[in-house]
Amino acid sequence: MAVATISNVRLAGVAACVPKGRRTTADYADLTVEERIKFTKTTGIEERRVAGPEQCMSDFCCAAAERLLAELQWEKEDIQVLVCVTQTPDYPIPATGVSLQHRLGLSRDCLAFDINLGCSGYVYGLMVAASLLQTLGGKKALLLVGDTSTKITHEHDRTAAPLFGDAGTATALTYDPAAPVMRFDLHSDGAGAQAIIIRAGGFRQPLTLDAMRVREVEPGVFRAPVNVELNGVDVFNFGLREVPGTVQAVLTAAQCQIADVDQFVFHQANWLMNEMIRKKIKVPEGKCPYSLRLFGNTSCSSIPLTLVTECRAVLLSGRQRMIFCGFGIGLSWATALVEATNVVCPELVEI
């Protein structure tokens, strides 16, 4: 797509919630001690948060949204749009976004639905929510983005399990004719559908007992067809190939240089991949925050979680021009340029 612009919509706030449960790379017994050290050095991941058996993404999003709405002091009836982005919904149907409308006590006049996207999902959700707000010409929107990837990854799949952490986030948007324009660049390449996939449990390959049976797919790597399968090499190449172009497209459309942007908040894939991308775009180190070390790859939550854990001080200090860029499952990738002023950003919530 050509770079799109959205006017009259302002980023009002962002909040994030993680489970209290922690797992460390140092304790991950499916890797040898040497492998654990090398894993942390390459991916940057030391720790991640893991949801308890009773905890769903909606619980984290709900807690983040409650905290955010309280700090914003918004009237719940003013929220007319609820967009939920997840690949780990509470139920196959109905949509988790609709149940969140009720749980948060929002009006029945609020439209609500889910978007099935992962690492690119925050930027997609931001554009969809902002577009709807612009179309409706008023009031407020909530974007609830979260995943519990640890529940779909087999714990003995050492090619995937030690990468992922769980989180849920809430982002508040408000109609504001004085808001600076937001710019978006969104892409898809379904040819890469096999790169990150759960093969069974949909209707192409229905849920059967066999689909739940765990296999040793390569020496020391265990998973069932209902678990996530990740082709790290293809995803790595994809990121290096596509991300620099989408970031550049948005900067060009905005007639911006790297120096004009305060923060480049990338999806937290892994340190090596993100650093390669950063160097290709020539972004200085200090402008690229990382939440990888303590939270791992949190799928669609990674950008708002990084905003809360790493950028809170700068967000609260005043005006920030930010690039958000997500890339991954689909394959799908997206960039947004957002000017953040007076953003409400509560401290990280833990439940």
Binding site: V233, F236, N237, L240
Partner: protein
């Protein structure tokens, strides 16, 4: 393609590797450090040094260090 330069780039990039024992004809499976992390750092090296990308399939097909070099050379000649 400068063979010795590729070999040096390859070995420089993998931590703990026995540089003296590795030639272009060393089977990748004989290199104890050749694991999924080494694959990623090699992809990163190929992207940085040669400006091309080798695919997951090409990495899987490669038996010898030389096969990786040939995969890169094939991309460069296109």
């Amino acid at each position: 393609m400068d063979n010795s330069r590729f070999l040096r780039n390859f070995t420089d990039n993998i931590e703990g590797i026995d540089v003296a024992a590795i030639t272009l004809d060393t089977p990748l499976t004989h290199i104890p450090q050749w694991d999924s992390m080494a694959i990623l750092t090699t992809l990163a090296m190929v992207d940085t040094e040669y400006g091309v990308q080798i695919s997951g399939v090409e990495v899987q097909r490669a038996k010898l260090v030389r096969d990786l070099m040939n995969a890169v050379a094939a991309k460069l000649s296109k």
